[in-house]
Amino acid sequence: MRGAPGHRSRRLAVALVMSAAGSLVAAGPASAGPPASPDDIAFFRAQVEPLLARRCLACHSHATERMESGLALDWKSGWEQGGDRGSAIRPGDPDGSLLVAAVRHADPDLRMPAEPLPAAEVATLVEWVRRGAPDPRVAAPTAGDWWSLRPLERPPLPTNAARANPLDAFLDARLAEAGITPAAEADRRTFIRRVTFDLHGLPPTPEAVEAFVADTGSDAHERLVDALLAAPRLGERFARHWFDCIHFADSHGFEHDVFRPHAWPYRDWVIDAFNADLPWATFVRAQLAADCFFPDDGPVQAALGFLGAGTYDHSAAVTAPRSFENLDRDDLVTQTMGALASTTANCARCHAHKFDPVTQDDYYALQAVFAGIGKGDIEWDADPAVAALRRKWRRIADLAATAPAALLALPEAALVADWEATGQGRAVWHPLALATFTSAFATELTRLDDGSILARGTPPEREVVTLTAAGPLAPITALRLDLLTDDSLPHQGPGRAPNGNLHLSEFDVRVFPAGAAPRAAPLARASADFEQSGWTIAHAIDGDPATAWGIHPEEGSPHHAVFVPAAPIVLAAGDTLTIALRQVHGGAHLIGRFRLSATGGDPDAAVALSAAAAAALAVPAADRTPDQAAALAAAVLGPRARGELARLPAPQKLYAAAATAVNERGTVRIDPPREIHVLHRGDIDQPRAVVGPGALSAVTWLPSRFDLSSGAPESARRAALADWLTAPTHPLTWRSIANRVWQWHFGRGLCDTPDDFGRMGGLPSHPELLDWLACEIRDTGSLKSLHRLICTSRAYRRAAHAPPEALAIDPDARLLGWMPRHRLDAESFHDAVLLTAGRLDDTRGGPAIPHFTQRPGAQLTPILDYDAFDLDSPGAGRRAIYRVVWRGIPDPLFDALDFPDLGLLAPTRGSSSSALQALVLANNRFVLHNARALATRAAAEPGTPADRIAWMVRRAWLRPPSAPEAADLTALADRHGLEAVARALFNADDFLFID
């Protein structure tokens, strides 16, 4: 491994020093003794080695880079040399060995580990020492010396490769070594059922089966596989595999198991990504940091749903935020490293990983990657053009508010000149003749000579002033509200709050036509000469009485706002215009003196200009100072930007995680990112050193701490992790996905612990093949090419019948001398029942379909009733991938068929059988309802009753019935009808299992 030599030489130096010291202290290093017997070695491997790994190596091994008191117990030399106290073991002499004394807790100064070992484990260690401490671990350990951390290099093909699919070359070599003659090829009927379920999660139609059986072409299998790979059902199948790996579901889980209505765009993105055969590196990068890598590509933003896939403890987020955030980041680290790199990095949260080279620093560096995001809805535009427009106008609106000078450098600055050239900003206002003006709180309102209205007396806490004007009136294209100062007001007003401020909650316009129902006159936009920070004029027309327009700290001078209705307001004789000035914020934040006027001119000319902008407008363009030009640009482009934004289609929402996201708690902002400390024993109350974003230091040739500039956005952290993961030299990423693809086809990975390639995981059955496949994905990026290689291999075509002599050699079929048989997973069963009953609805994408009715629960979690679901409702026939997956309230049908608990990652589906499962399959409404549907269709088929039964069997089992089966089913039909037959067909293992 690159980087290892330096490490090894440092270790060697340590060993030499300790060796010298040892010879001074004790009677020389412990003798190696006679060679250990095979029995002793077996005893060590079976009992002692796992015990040491479990109890000692966290603090005494190279893998964890911790050798407390200088003692390493991960190889023979380690305990021979011993630590600070000398040799840990005197072979053959338990009572004279420090290690035995330590685990016996006999000496108060030497008690290891802190928590006493069970007596049986102490006895094992004593027995081992008594036997002379046989220990075959003579090679020096290094941190990275483990198969999954070795550099990935494409192994040469075995010599038989010329004539075979490369996969068969590897597999056949091992079968030959083991002396296994593989099973014969499966017949075509079996093959098409197998490969269609595998690639689509659905059975073929009976017609497709017959066509394939009749296809005499030598490349029939290849053509079939290619056709299946090209169909969109492929993505629907493989997306669910991926969702299991990342525990994606449609609700939070935990106490408040709230629905996530915007989780589905991610589901659709994953389906599309698999169908489009998105290169794996792109798939990874988009999910971790689409906002950084592809900021201009709207649809790809949906990939960020990956970050929101897991659970969310709403209650803890509110009442215990520190522990919540720690565990929420932990979940993201677990998900990312487990699903993308098959590494249990999360085991290093409380202490260095006990078995794998993951330090606590590494773990918290991974937490730091996600330290700036929180779960919730983000917004995203499906149409890239809309996304670009939204970005542009948002930026202009931001600049208008915060840095107007920057507007002058934008192309849109030209719009200011256009606006001015067409005479805008110079609307002619006419005072509106008010018929009445009334206060809801009996405030004294006086009309002054200039037509303005002044409030007097003790101000109420809140106020609603209603103004009316009688028709006929000339069409009104804009209304202007002037707020005027007066000596009678605090600080001359124009407000009545002690500081002269006011808060206009809503500016509400209605028309009362003569003899007809009143109607609201919706406002398209509003502008003001000045806006208090956070109290903008937009708040006065947002329909939310909790928000308002304010003028602090610019009290003491007049202000004005302009309101543009969506359509000109026309009042005929007898009509009445009503305007309500709602001022409900409280604290006497009320208008002291105001005047209302109207215009019928071009509404684009009706803009409230800031004092500076108004002054600038009075100066000829050529003579304006840069400040004046900027003020005018802000006054023109700010409202323009808000208008443009309002006209854009509503953005797509997506449940994800981001620096700013919206959830039940409102807008949650984690900006700047949290400072991440190493937590002693994982305890949030014991913070140690600060760590920056990074990854595993065991991959020595990739930078494990990310070099990000101090001004880098939060997304750069995630992007850096994505870059680290997708480096072509990464030892884990490519092996991880290659192994998963293999598992998705054969039911079991080449390494059968798909989320753990560490020392507690399984060893790959065919390491060279796994590396070859990993290189293939790394070099092509294509999952489809891997699917094709696998599905066209001879191994994949084999029958599911184990040759008896092969079964004795390889009972678990690890060598794939025959095809492992599988039970249908929950989704495949559901979808196959629908297809067989003729009720499958192939609609793709869109919001998830609930398979339940719901009513409000005691708190945020609703009560779901799966039994009350209308099985004939629209969408009820859609594929299971489109159903709502409610984490804490699972569908009993799916539950019975081993649909996983998505509280945790679930990379491997169970396949259990039980009496309750048998009863669910027999009696669940979904099965019975579709049994009835199949029977109804069968009843309409021509022919004899026997013909109809044969038709049903061909649909359900994709083969004709045998004579005994036909007789049995016919007898059942005679007594209980075709519905009973359909029920039996769905419950038979012929339907439920795939050969």
């Binding site: 935990f254 403890d313 009972p811 005691a858 048998a918 045998s962 299992f993």
Partner: protein, 475 residues
């Protein structure tokens, strides 16, 4: 002791064939069938050592039952009533900053030969205190319902881990074939916090999941029988169809020898038919005497629901279900033990609803001899603050709370641990949630450090890497 794929064992033990002996072994080991007659040395079974208890009824008070208003008398609360002695900053998981010290509104009196102090909200349980062993200083790791309920049920604060009942099912298998081995009886008013996550098998095989029984339905166990609109799945039609399915599956398996999954499916079909025969009578209370019904409180509206579920729990246990969990209180702001608003108003009605049924259950189990091999556990997810909230309520507090055990293997009358003067934190003899779980497993003949399942690179245990058996309450 991770369990491995059974097929390998079977083929080894059966010499490559797949005989009846191997199948029986498989069915027992994988929880599909009852164990054979017990070893005389281990009359109650057990996995690692002879069991003291064979079955468990767990009574779960959802929401956080207040210790200082029930079993943990704290005279210091009277002395310091109204004083601001609580933490200045809101601790993690408190819903509001701590209020002033609040004494219990209920009088305490001594009961039983042990002279145990019990408040006036539990007059009936007070008569049974000599049967119980009290863990007076239970501690958990969080003050939030969801994680705390997960902790008490699964040993982890996070979702996705198997619950105690599932671990027991996995470790010990069934006692009988014709009833589910792990049954959950939630409050009919609603599921607890975490919904069904509390009953999840997590990463254990699905057959170890809790069977959620809803006594409000015609068929309390879902899908044992078909719904009314499907007559072709009832009566003789059902019988004949299920029989045909079994015949067909045998034909199918005969063509595919040596497949344990197919054999298991056939075995499951046999058990399903037997479960259909047993289930209805289990839930039929007509055979219970009026005296029994009345003793449990079925005849009083305040207690009827919990009484019914306690009685069903006894019937399940009696017929061979291994683990029954009975919940008091749904999630939410009312009708449970989460008494934020007012201890004097909210605690008495929920306490009343369980008190008589629990006392009757203990007496009934004892009278029938079932207490000799049945463990009863009364617990909750955390305690409550000695500080007032909303005037007379109490906030969440994982610092100290009470659990009691009774029945098989329990040292009746024992007390272990003490909370501090105010009842805010444990003082001596702290029992962690993992300690309680280790103790329950121990009584069932299971070493909690050796009941493991390998998943995602870790040999997972119910007790994570913690837990000590509390020998002080083991009889």
């Amino acid at each position: 002791m991770a369990r491995t794929i059974p097929r390998r064992d079977l083929l080894t033990t059966a010499g490559g064939g797949f005989g009846a002996v191997a199948l029986a072994h498989l069915l027992v080991r994988e929880g599909w069938a009852a164990a054979p007659a017990p070893d005389p040395a281990w009359p109650l079974g057990g996995l690692h050592h002879p069991a003291r208890a064979r079955r468990v009824i767990q009574l779960f008070m959802n929401g956080g039952a207040s210790p200082m208003d029930t079993f943990d008398f704290k005279p210091a609360l009277e002395k310091h009533h109204g004083e601001a002695l609580g933490p200045k900053e809101k601790p993690e998981g408190f819903t509001t900053p701590a209020g002033t010290v609040m004494k219990s509104p209920f009088p305490f009196a001594r009961h039983g030969a042990t002279g145990r102090l019990v408040s006036s909200v539990f007059p009936c349980q007070a008569r049974e205190v000599d049967r119980m062993a009290f863990l007076m200083a239970m501690k958990t790791t969080t003050n939030v319902h969801g994680p705390a309920s997960y902790m008490m049920n699964t040993g982890f604060m996070l979702p996705g881990f198997p619950c105690l009942g599932a671990w027991v099912s996995y470790g010990l298998g069934r006692i009988v074939d014709d009833l589910p081995d792990f049954v959950v009886l939630p409050d009919p008013r609603g599921l607890p916090y975490n919904q069904k996550g509390n009953f999840s098998p997590g990463f254990l095989p699905a057959r170890h999941q809790g069977t959620v029984v809803d006594l409000g339905r015609t068929e309390p166990i879902p899908d044992v029988f078909a719904a009314a609109p499907y007559p072709f799945a009832h009566g003789a039609a059902d019988h004949d169809t299920l029989a045909l399915i079994q015949r067909q599956n045998r034909r199918h398996a005969a063509l595919r020898p040596h497949d344990s999954h197919l054999e298991a499916r056939i075995a499951a079909g046999e058990l399903a038919a037997r479960l259909q025969l047993t289930a209805p009578s289990t839930f039929d209370l007509a055979t219970e005497s009026a005296a029994t019904n009345s003793a449990y409180g079925l005849d009083r509206p305040e207690t009827a629901d919990f009484a019914k579920r306690c009685l069903i729990a006894r019937r399940l246990i009696e017929r061979g279900t291994r683990f029954v969990q009975v919940w008091s209180g749904p999630q939410g702001a009312v009708n449970n033990w989460d008494n934020h608003g007012s201890i004097p108003k909210e605690l008495p009605p929920i306490a009343l609803s369980v008190d008589q049924p629990i006392a009757a259950l203990l007496a009934d189990l004892a009278a029938r001899g079932l207490l000799a091999d049945t463990l009863v556990v009364w617990t909750t997810e955390f305690g409550r603050t000695p500080f007032a909230q909303n005037n007379q309520g109490r906030d969440h507090n994982g610092g100290t709370f009470v659990t009691w055990l009774a029945g098989a293997g329990v040292k009746a009358g024992a007390t272990h641990g003490e909370s501090d003067d105010l009842g805010y934190q444990t003082a001596t003899g702290t029992t962690t949630v993992h300690d309680l779980q280790a103790t329950i497993l121990h009584l069932l003949g299971i070493d909690h450090t050796r009941l493991t399942f390998r998943t995602a690179g870790v040999d997972r245990r119910l007790t994570d890497v913690h837990g000590h058996v509390v020998s002080e309450v083991v009889g």
